[in-house]
Amino acid sequence: MKIKDIQNQIVEEFDIFDSWMDKYEYLIELGKSVPIISPSNKKDDNIIKGCQSKVWLHADIDNGFVKFYADSDAVITKGIISLLIRAFSNQKPKDIIEAKMDFIDKIGLRQHLSPNRANGLNNMIKKIKFYAIAFSKTN
């Protein structure tokens, strides 16, 4: 499925919920199925800076498709990273680099994010892009 279509799907899913509470609960639920980073990759080098909680992100490439793995010690952050991984995992580096990242705004989550969280979100997106750029050069 194309990145744009996955993003639209995610936005539609969150649209069902009116209240922030329901959106949060759904986000937390989604976080439970994030592809978990391996213990060997759960190290300081893979921590995303700027998040108040700890967020680890790692990627590898398999047959030309980037696969992301993550974890966090906070459930809301885990939910946020799971959305990003759902949109960008199993995609080609070029598609990730060219993809727009504004679907998180459309969910209405950014307004609920404190500056710390928003910075963390920006850094998560940056890291995803950096991985894609790195893989596009080695591929």
Partner: protein
């Protein structure tokens, strides 16, 4: 209790308390970060720019004279509030951090390689990092007073650290993360006995109780106006005259000079020596108004009421399963740092923010404390005299909702 009786009238003085956040009435429990601002302070700033704006100390025209009078009147207010000897001992800076940097920078002249300086494990980063920088420049060594499980300093360990190489001791009067009130009288006495100077970071103390610098015999005492209902951008540095005369200027420029030539420049007397450039004139004047506001209520009344809020909130919090409170010294201000089970404090803070409740989560610029407890951070609630029991009840219910969502 007097404050309780007119709490509604006090709350009406703070327009921001009527704000809605995420559709809910704001409940502001982040007063350790900054206190809210009463109308009289807001009006003072507005009035300054409407009727008084003029650079101080240098003009012969009327506005300049009036602005100077009000600025210096503020200095006098803080001098009296602290019971300092003279107004020259009161320096206005941009905040506690600036004040600490001013003093630590000055100590470059007095430290040699191998000299020792003493910090505590309870410090805010602003009272750690400037001194680390000083050690890097001078080769001095920093020693750390350890804390205990109750969030108190181990005074017996402090006494072992003191020796004839100790040049300065710098600790907070009250811990911003835990609320512990430190035994600074003992620390000052023992430090002076071996010839060391003492700087006390009073940022979290000054809003809650009276400070008498003469009685304390402290060498430097620093705090910020914005935690005392004043505006941001103003710090108050008290220094004993003999120390301020010894310290070199921190910033060079206008105002802090006596005579300037390319061959030689001489410096102004106190306090101007440390107030280079155009200060935050509106802010300093308004800070004095904020101080008046607090003194009208009375710090004894404030402390009594805040202790009541602290006791109530602590007991209600402890009724929630899984709550762990950090820093349970018998002697503390109205700050509670806690966690709930294994839930990340950030998650709790996020959820209750949606209910209009402002708390601080994280390490509170006190990472050594978090490292001691081996935790990523805490949820911190910190009260002011405009908070109410009803707000605490709302918080407790909000926490229960958050726990349900996050478990």
């Amino acid at each position: 209790m007097q404050v309780l009786k007119n709490i509604e009238s006090i709350r009406n003085d703070f327009p921001i308390l009527n704000t809605k956040v995420n559709g809910n009435q704001l409940i502001y429990f982040d007063n350790a970060a900054t206190s809210q601002t009463p109308n009289c302070v807001i009006d003072s700033i507005s009035d300054y720019y409407k009727n008084l704006n003029s650079n101080i100390h240098r003009g012969v025209h009327k506005l300049s004279q009036l602005a100077t009078e009000k600025y210096e009147d503020s200095r006098r207010k803080f001098k009296e509030h602290l019971n300092a000897n003279c107004t020259s001992e009161i320096i206005f800076t941009s905040g506690t951090t600036h004040s600490i940097n001013l003093v630590s920078n000055g100590f470059i002249e007095f430290l040699n390689e191998g000299d020792e300086i003493i910090v505590s494990q309870l410090e805010h980063h602003s009272n750690i990092v400037p001194w680390q920088m000083l050690c890097e420049k001078t080769g001095a060594v920093m020693k750390v007073i350890p804390m205990n499980e109750q969030g108190e300093l181990k005074v017996s360990e402090f006494l072992k650290l003191l020796n004839n190489k100790t040049k300065i001791v710098f600790i907070n009067h009250v811990s911003n993360a835990l609320g512990t009130i430190n035994p600074i009288e003992t620390i000052i006495e023992k430090s002076h006995a071996i010839g060391a100077a003492v700087l006390i970071d009073g940022a979290q103390a000054a809003p809650h109780f009276e400070i008498d610098v003469k009685k304390l015999n402290v060498d430097f005492y620093v705090f910020s106006a914005h935690k005392l209902c004043g505006p941001t951008g103003v710090g108050i540095l008290y220094g004993k005259k003999e120390w301020l005369e010894k310290l070199p200027p921190y910033q060079g420029g206008g105002e802090m000079i006596d005579e300037v030539s390319f061959e030689k420049t001489t410096y102004a007397e106190l306090p101007n020596k440390f107030e280079a450039g155009t200060p935050n004139i509106a802010g300093v004047i308004a800070s004095g108004i904020g101080l008046d506001y607090i003194n009208n209520i009375g710090l004894k009344n404030i402390k009594e009421y805040e202790d009541y809020l602290l006791d109530y909130a602590t007991s209600k919090l402890k009724e929630i399963e899984g709550v762990k409170v950090y820093g349970e010294s018998k002697n503390k201000t109205s700050v509670i740092s806690f966690n709930i089970g294994e839930i990340h404090p950030y998650d709790i803070g996020s959820v209750i923010d949606n209910l209009g409740i402002a708390v601080r989560t994280g390490h509170h610029c006190a990472q050594p404390i978090m490292d001691y407890f081996n935790i990523p951070g805490t949820i911190r609630i910190s009260f002011c005299f405009y908070n109410t029991i009803e707000e605490i009840d709302f918080l407790i219910n909000a926490l229960k909702k958050a726990i349900k969502m996050l478990s």
